[in-house]
């Protein structure tokens, strides 16, 4: 068990969100899409230029930029 940054996750890796560091608009957007503490996510893929990243959460797919992923800490195996 260790806590890493979402940016550092590999494609197909799963993890549980540990905390969201962002507030304000970015924090609100992140949470509105269901990225909240305790949710399981799986990195689905990355865009051709490695950024943005696509995630699987609650059965749907989401995309966000690496510098936004920086605000999300994930607990991985």
């Amino acid at each position: 068990m260790k806590i890493i940054n979402l940016r550092q996750m590999n494609v197909d890796q799963t993890g549980i969100i540990n905390s969201i560091k962002a507030n304000g608009e970015l924090g609100q957007r992140i949470r509105d899409m269901g990225l909240i503490k305790g949710k399981e996510i799986k990195v689905q893929g990355r865009a051709p230029l490695n950024d943005p990243v696509s995630l699987r959460i609650m059965g749907f797919t989401l995309m966000l930029r690496n510098n936004e992923a920086d605000h999300i800490e994930v607990e991985v195996q």
Binding site: G24, Q28, R31, T61, M63, L64, R65
Partner: protein, 733 residues
């Protein structure tokens, strides 16, 4: 009497599809007052009553961060609809209910249309509808919007439950916030603070969510109470921050999801398959957004769109060209010579024909684009392109504005400029709306199509692709230049859903395509025709003076002097091949005089004078005065370039049988060749946006500074590019 209801829900939940199913053809598309967010209105009428249905913009939440969300909640608050029909995607229940909770917190009656039941079933998701309804205390009706299944039941539920008084939903946000909310309600209630619009607890919640719209309204309503509320929030926030290391906004979102989750956990939802297993959609994505294949497929898709548009629209385009050619020929024969005839043919028929002739092209383009949009591929494009866009100081969502404007050729910069409203960061938005006019809008297409058909007929699709690439590269470079000089600044969040791939329905595609084509035609019908006539007047008046007219008469007399009446009659009536050599020469000389006269008249006209006076400069970019007039006309609307060129050249034509299309005319014209044509294409891509777009830019930016900037800057930029291209090109060709 009719009942006012709204359709609301997440993007991609099937809102538009359900709206179309319910209202059929009876819909009206407009805007929300004061803003340019699209507002669709329609009616549903059966024996159970008449319902006025409003389609709210699709949103994930109800914050004040995006215009869509503000519009949606302002509408709910100000118009007080009898019921919110909340479309919920059954295959994506948890996230969709997060928005439902926010609707229920507002205290307006909600009825849930549990849509995409077929998709949920396929994914092995089973939902206990009765239980969901009981736990949420709102009616829930399963639907499949795509096939219209469940819509009757839905409307029955709406009829039975509208107007009912409901208590706003109270979600618990933890002891600290709940206590603070209660304290705040005690301040709000007796003072009637904002209670005309908002329920007390909702106002308090918005203070906690740091909602600037509500906080501003509060300040205006009652400064003392506003200050007290802010103090309660501040105190609680400080406490939360020190004990839990958390902000109220975060806690509120967590608890809303927690509330949804607690309901789903009570046996409402069951998964028969792993929720996160690879769906077909994900497998497609593995290929379509692959590092190497992705960009290749994207290029192929763009190319395919062009092929589709040009290949299938060819027949109706030719047909329309023929119809208008025939109409012009008919008018030529039936009407007496003079101003009326000239107005009819050069002003009206050519003007309308120049616009309508390209309607099929535009329809096919829109069909292709809405296909890409509805399948979900467009979102993938923005996924793949975001990194690139950010390099130029734009946003992945800028893709939408660029595409609406004609990034995939055939859009329009007017809605494109308006589409930038979804961009919250003012700087990225400004950069986007100033550069979207470089895209190949539907109105520029006729110009390109004309020139490509005339000079690059063998490699149509390839040249059109080249044109698209040039406009993209140009737009991005200019955006980058703007973002590093006049509009510097930080970037905004890019968190979006990648919707599953879906096969669009024909009905959905057609409604969408026809709506947009109709919009183009309406614009064409009014603005273009008016301007075509105005330009005709500019090109007709003041006309030649008596002395110059007499000169041409004198020339004619000189040519025909000494000829017998019989010969003169033959020249007028007989076919060329039955004329003697001498008579034929006379006829040709006469024709030349007519051409010279028409040309002189045009050059002497207002437009001709303008065009000629700047020809000295523009000829270095390859443009003659006819082109200059056309380009001036293009400021009114880009498609006018075509109708004006048509008018300019048909005024120069005399042969009554000549009804071949303008592209054939240009091919034969002196001074026209691939080099000139491409120089004109470049200029058309980059020069000043049409005045409709300019007005929109003014409205969107709230000042005349930026539109003035875009008119002047773009035109100088365009002329520089064309000039360099033409001069360098002349060395090689």
């Amino acid at each position: 009497m009719s009942t006012a209801i709204v359709l609301a829900g997440n993007p991609n939940s099937g809102k538009t599809t359900l709206f179309n199913e319910l209202t059929g053809g009876r819909q009206h598309v407009g805007n929300y007052p004061g803003v340019t967010v699209e507002k669709k209105q329609g009616t549903y009428e059966t024996d159970i009553g008449r319902f006025d249905i409003i389609d709210l913009p699709g949103t994930y939440s109800l914050t004040a961060y995006s215009l869509e969300e503000v519009v949606a909640r302002d509408f709910l608050v100000n118009e007080n609809p009898s019921m919110i029909v909340n479309i919920v995607d059954a295959s994506n229940l948890e996230r969709n209910l997060y928005l439902s909770v926010q609707f229920m917190e507002m205290g307006i009656p909600v009825c849930i249309a549990l849509n995409m039941m077929d998709v949920a079933k396929k994914r092995g998701i089973e939902i206990d509808i009765d239980k969901l309804s009981k736990l949420l205390k709102v009616p829930v009706v399963p639907t499949i919007a795509r096939s219209g299944k469940g819509k009757k039941e839905l409307m029955h539920a709406v009829a039975a439950n509208a107007f009912k008084d409901v208590e706003p939903l109270k979600v618990s946000y933890g002891l600290d916030i709940d206590t603070a909310l209660d304290d705040m309600v005690k301040l709000i209630q007796p003072a009637g603070f904002l209670t005309d619009h908002y329920k007390p607890r909702w106002t308090a919640l918005k203070y906690f969510e740091n909602d600037q719209q509500v906080i501003e309204a509060g300040k205006k309503e009652n400064k003392t109470i506003a200050l007290k509320l802010e103090r309660v929030v501040q105190k609680t926030a400080d406490h939360l921050s020190s004990t839990l290391d958390a902000h109220p906004e975060g806690i509120i979102a967590d608890h809303r999801y927690g509330f949804v989750n607690s309901i789903l956990k009570q046996g409402v939802i069951r998964f028969y398959q792993d929720e996160n297993r690879l769906l077909l959609s994900d497998k497609i994505d593995k290929i379509v957004t692959n590092k190497f294949l992705g960009p290749l497929i994207m290029a192929a898709v763009l190319m395919g769109l062009y092929k589709f548009t040009f290949a299938y629209s060819g027949v109706p385009v030719t047909f329309l060209e023929n119809v208008f050619g025939w109409a012009a020929g008919f008018a030529q024969q039936m009407l007496p010579d003079g101003i009326l005839k000239s107005l009819m043919i050069s002003g009206i028929i050519n003007g309308v024909g120049g616009v309508l002739g390209f309607v099929p092209l535009i329809m096919f383009m829109f069909l292709g684009i809405s296909f890409l949009e509805d399948t979900g591929y467009l979102a993938r494009m923005s996924f793949m392109l975001d990194r690139v866009f950010r390099m130029f100081g734009l946003h992945g969502s800028s893709v939408m504005a660029f595409i609406v404007s004609g990034g995939i050729a055939g859009g329009c910069a007017v809605p494109g400029v308006m589409a930038t409203r979804t961009l919250k960061s003012p700087k990225e938005r400004l950069a986007t709306l100033l550069t979207v006019p470089f895209m190949n809008c539907g109105a520029k297409l006729p110009v390109f199509a004309l020139l490509v058909a005339a000079f690059f007929a063998e490699s149509k699709a390839l040249v059109m692709l080249l044109i698209t690439m040039i406009s993209w590269v140009g737009a991005l470079l200019v955006a980058w230049a703007l973002r590093s000089t006049v509009i510097k600044g930080e970037s905004t969040p890019f968190i979006m859903e990648l919707p599953p791939y879906r096969l669009p329905t024909l009905k959905g595609l057609l409604i969408h395509t026809l709506e947009r084509t109709w919009q183009y035609m309406r614009k064409a019908g009014t603005v273009i025709l008016g301007i075509s006539i105005l330009l005709w007047a500019m090109m007709t008046f003041p006309g030649l003076n008596k002395a110059r007219l007499a000169k041409f008469e004198y020339k004619r007399a000189a040519i025909t002097s000494g000829l017998s009446l019989q010969t003169l009659n033959d020249i007028k009536t007989l076919e060329e091949k039955s004329l003697t050599k001498k008579a034929l020469a006379v006829k040709e000389n006469l024709l030349q005089v007519d051409l010279d006269q028409a040309r002189a008249a045009l050059k002497n006209s207002i437009a001709g004078r303008i065009g000629t006076s700047i020809e000295g400069v523009t000829r270095f970019a390859g443009f003659n005065w006819q082109t200059n007039i056309a380009l001036v006309g293009g400021f009114a609307a880009k498609e006018v370039v075509v109708s004006t060129l048509g008018t300019a050249y048909s005024l120069g034509e005399v042969d009554p049988q000549e009804t071949a299309s303008l592209s054939n005319k240009l091919k034969k014209e002196k001074g026209w060749g691939p080099l000139t044509a491409f120089s004109l294409i470049l200029f058309t891509i980059f020069y000043s946006p049409c005045f409709v777009t300019v007005v929109c830019i003014a409205r969107e930016t709230g000042s005349w500074k930026w539109p003035a900037f875009s008119v002047i800057f773009n035109t100088i930029l365009a002329f520089t590019i064309s000039l360099v291209f033409y001069q360098v090109g002349s060395i090689f060709f």
